[in-house]
């Protein structure tokens, strides 16, 4: 049975981790959730990123959602903003790509050029 008391305990644990996270800086993953994104599977993509980050116990990464990113044909899309504020937009994301993006980009700091919107639009 879930309770608000247990949620508060979880919050306190999360706060301790966050103090470490803010010192190191981190990544931000923004998943496009317009009608086009949702219809293309953006919810599964967001859940996929959350699961991958949880499974790999990555501390320096926040996942959030935004509206339509303006390139409906290439949904589902996610923008990754690194610790320097640089933006990378990944498009037509699949489950396998999520694992690869997290491993190479978030953990090893190596963006995957072939999945980026700019390269796929050419």
């Amino acid at each position: 049975m879930k309770s608000l008391e247990d949620l508060q305990k979880l919050r306190d644990e999360a706060l301790k981790k966050m103090n470490v996270r803010y010192v190191k800086g981190g990544y931000r993953i923004q998943v496009g959730m317009g009608t086009c994104g949702i219809a293309s599977g953006a919810k599964q993509v967001l859940q996929g990123f959350l699961k991958e980050i949880q499974d790999r116990q990555i501390e320096n990464c926040a996942v959030t959602q935004v509206g339509c990113m303006g390139e409906c044909t290439y949904e589902p899309m996610a923008e990754i903003i690194d610790e320097n504020g640089q933006s990378f937009v990944y498009c037509s994301i699949t489950d396998d790509m999520i694992k690869e993006i997290v491993e190479k980009h978030i953990i090893n700091h190596e963006p995957i050029d072939r999945y980026l919107l700019n390269n796929r639009k050419r």
Partner: protein, 178 residues
């Protein structure tokens, strides 16, 4: 989109784009499922309101179709429900849409807990409340209350997952499933 919760997620984006300070989402379940969403965003003039549920109308410049409202209107009509959209410029918009929950074309309800948490972490969301009501019992989630309780940890993955399960548990309690 294959469930009501996903439609809700989509429709709330319209209110966010309309720069709403508060979005009030209310779902009431009996023989009909009635979903009402009120926002205090920029609203629409009469001409825009008339076109709003057309799939070939959008205020966006990046594409020429706007499918969110038209799809939920279609689903409500398919299930013998009703679709009402009212709006005034600078006052906000109210959407009321109903579905016959026993109709053979009624989509699954979907994962409301998941959708509420996703809305809560939307970067442009100011505040919203979500209420699920059935048989005089109800559960209400207020984003601002939760922000006060959780602060930045609202974006912590473990907190988000727990919160999602907690919301679903409370909805199931209201629905008499627990």
């Amino acid at each position: 989109m294959d469930n009501i919760a996903l439609y809700l997620l989509d429709l709330a984006q319209n209110a966010i784009v309309a720069k709403a300070n508060h979005i009030d989402i209310h779902i009431k379940e009996d023989d009909m499922l009635v979903l009402e969403m009120k926002d205090d965003g920029c609203g629409m003039d009469e001409e825009t309101l008339q076109k709003a549920s057309s799939p070939f109308f959008t205020t966006r410049k990046t594409r020429k179709v706007g499918l969110g409202l038209s799809m939920i209107k279609m689903v409500s009509e398919q299930t013998s429900g009703e679709f009402q959209l009212t709006s005034k410029p600078n006052e906000g918009t109210t959407l009321k849409v109903s579905f016959d929950i026993h109709h053979m074309d009624m989509p699954p309800l979907g994962d409301f807990g998941d959708v509420v948490v996703m809305l809560a972490i939307h970067q442009d969301m100011n505040d919203f409340s979500f209420t699920y009501e059935k048989d005089n019992k109800q559960y209400t989630f207020h984003l601002n209350d939760m922000k006060e309780l959780l602060g930045d940890t609202l974006h912590d993955i473990y907190v988000m997952n727990y919160l999602k399960d907690y919301i679903n548990q409370e909805i199931n309690r209201v629905r008499g499933i627990l």
